[in-house]
Symmetry: C2
Subunit: 223 residues, 2 copies
């Protein structure tokens, strides 16, 4: 393994360990020594990549916005939905994503490191703008405002469903939320062609994990 | 002042002080001594009402679900909207409400004290059920599921808009969210008669503070 490749791998191992600990305990209660132990790397390597606990938090937040696994769709609104559905599937399963949300929701760590909510908002708004330009979305919608509400509502569904006594499946809850919201966003002829379901989230995830190359043919297979 | 009345007042003063400190620092970082100092009551009175910090948290959470200021409306869905709009107006202004949300959002304090989200869900679901029985809401909606999503989305709007670099007005954001959601809940003939705006939230608050008695005449004045 080339030296650079090994460094990238070590960095990733440390970051995964940090995410797991942040996700379990929150930023404040997490200690470098626990992260170091869980990562199983040398102190030298550790501090080379992340000189402080704050650098670990920033590293985790750096991984929180992704369109990995999102395939180009004929309908741009479907791409936007896919982004939110796939994230709903992944977040409860991936401490990296779950920890980033926890860091953002906690007011103390948020004051120190900020959040990725503005980036998520811009990402969804750009898909909404494209959808509007193509006539898929109602012409009067204000992309940034709608995108901000989508990010907020998605986040709330995660926070609240995690906090309720019964267990709720995040993709199912997010799909129900999006089903409620989309009639106010998509024009009727597009609305009927959208797929908004937890099943789609699971399929998107399975395809991403298969690691197949992206392409138009694959976009079809998601259905 | 009668002894009982004084006790009630003292309890309230302590609880307000606790809410202010919890709201600023979070549960973990709050100390009894700071709350005691801010309340300005004797140690004896303090520990009589609240033997521990946990009792203070439970006391704050006890105040978090309220329909104070909500007037009976001809359209039940309007009552549901009023409940959510008025809360959006009050929460950023009242540490008691804001602190309760913070305690619920924080995973550590939530594990200790639970949340009021189930109570909010039941409250909104009962209004939705009434709306459905009257034909105001679509007959196929599942009240508990929709109510849970409303609570979650409302909460997310608070958490995210508080965390964004720009300032957002909570009643304005919540009104925009409800405007997006209501077409999937209300039948069209009712939808056009609903008032969903930040201005209504402010008016509901002003009327509540005037302390006027509730009644049908007042319900009209809200418009």
């Amino acid at each position: 393994m080339a030296q650079q490749e090994r460094a990238i791998r070590t960095r990733r191992v440390i970051l995964e360990a940090a995410a797991a600990v942040f996700d379990e305990r929150g930023y404040e209660a997490s200690t470098i020594s626990e992260i170091l132990e869980r990562a199983g790397v040398t102190k030298g390597a550790f501090y080379f990549h992340f000189p402080s606990k704050g650098d670990l938090a920033l590293g985790v937040l750096g991984e929180a916005v992704t369109t990995e696994g999102i395939l180009p769709q004929e309908i741009k609104l479907q791409e936007m939905l896919d982004t939110m559905l796939l994230m709903a599937y992944r977040l409860p399963r991936e401490p990296m994503l779950s920890a980033a949300l926890r860091l953002a929701v906690d007011r103390n760590s948020r004051h120190m490191f900020g959040t990725r909510w503005p980036d998520w908002t811009v990402l969804l708004a750009s898909l909404l703008a494209e959808a509007k330009a193509r006539g898929e979305a109602h012409p009067y919608i204000e992309e940034m405002g709608i995108a901000r509400l989508l990010v907020a509502a998605w986040t709330g569904v995660r926070v609240v469903s995690e906090g309720l006594p019964e267990e709720y499946d995040l993709p199912t809850e997010v799909a129900a939320l999006l089903q409620l919201l989309l009639p106010s966003i998509a024009v009727p002829t597009v609305l009927t062609r959208l797929e908004i379901s937890a099943g789609r989230a699971a399929r998107l995830f399975a395809m991403m994990r298969e690691g197949e190359p992206e392409g138009a043919g694959l976009a079809e297979r998601v259905r």
